[in-house]
Amino acid sequence: MIKRFAVILLLLGIGAIFTGLMVNYVPDKALNVTARYYAEQTAPDLGAANIVTAIIVTYRGLDTLGEVTVLFLTAAIVGLVLARGSSDEAPARRDLPPPGELLLTGTRLLLPLILLFGAYVFTHGHLTPGGGFQGGAIIASGMLLMLLSHPLRRFGHRLIAIVESIAGLAFVGIGVLGIALAGGFLDNRILPLGTFGELFSAGAIPIIYTFVGLKVGAEFSSMLVNLSETEDL
């Protein structure tokens, strides 16, 4: 009870800080320097229609590399945590009710579409809302569907790991190419910018986002697979 009271009291304090932030908050009337630069320069400099994508993949590419690494790390650690101590005990098989016709058929029908849609989302990240993370998440949702329909099936960790690693290496490699061929690490102008608004434009952005999509898809899948394999309780 004392704890609850203390928490409320403290949250009141934090709430006061938040209120202070809001009271002092004056919405911008015009874009600030940074945003204005992006609005004006993205198209001529990077050739990407989606400014957010240009920021994510190029201007703040280092953040994105970190972000991809977060997922890589999480996937690796989830693997470590779940593998810890359970390596010697054989997973206890149990009988599950069959997944049902609806789910099985639905999966068969939807899976290719989901994968295709995911690929579309990450290859068009520089043109439309979406991108590697969104596409990767969509692909992983396909994986989730597979896991739901075939709960006892064991997936190839190896394939997932290879996709994940190659995509990661490619991302870093493209970034390094930026130093050699363009203005710096992760510069997308190692390829011609192409025609604004087309699929093959914006330099390396679609390529990077493709790899990000593959990587994110693989990492989410790996986490899902790892978590699903723990269901041996």
């Binding site: 704890k3 932030l21 908050y25 994510i56 953040d63 972000e67 999480t74 608004g197 978590l227 723990t230």
Partner: protein, 118 residues
């Protein structure tokens, strides 16, 4: 009224923190943190929002020349994506931990894991 999204975000953060600090069940704590993270993300995007403007994607509707006057601040949009991904990563990690903790001790009550103290 401009601030309603932001206020909601802050409220979600507080609710999330309250839940995370008063529920002793580890899974509930994780869910509560997810709520708080959502609140943070909401605050993030609300800061970049400008009334009457559109998404920062240049196409026939928003030509390059008019972009400065027509689009909202793209930076928070980019940041929130990163924040979301990181949040997902941490949540997944916490879930994996919760699983292992449960396997070792058979309980999800955080107040039972006090072997290390003082």
């Amino acid at each position: 009224m401009d601030l309603i999204a932001m206020a909601t975000g802050f409220l979600l953060i507080l609710i999330g923190l309250f839940g995370a600090l008063t529920n002793r069940n580890i899974l509930r704590m994780i869910v509560a943190f997810a709520v708080a993270n959502t609140g943070v993300n909401l605050v993030l995007v609300s800061v970049g929002y400008m009334t009457g403007r559109t998404a920062p994607i240049l196409d026939s509707a928003v030509p390059v020349a008019e972009a400065t006057a027509r689009v909202i601040d793209p930076v928070p949009q980019a940041l929130v994506l990163t924040a979301i991904v990181i949040g997902v990563g941490v949540t997944a990690l916490m879930l994996a931990y919760a699983y292992r903790l449960f396997k070792t001790r058979g309980t999800l009550d955080i107040s039972r894991y006090t072997d290390l103290k003082w």
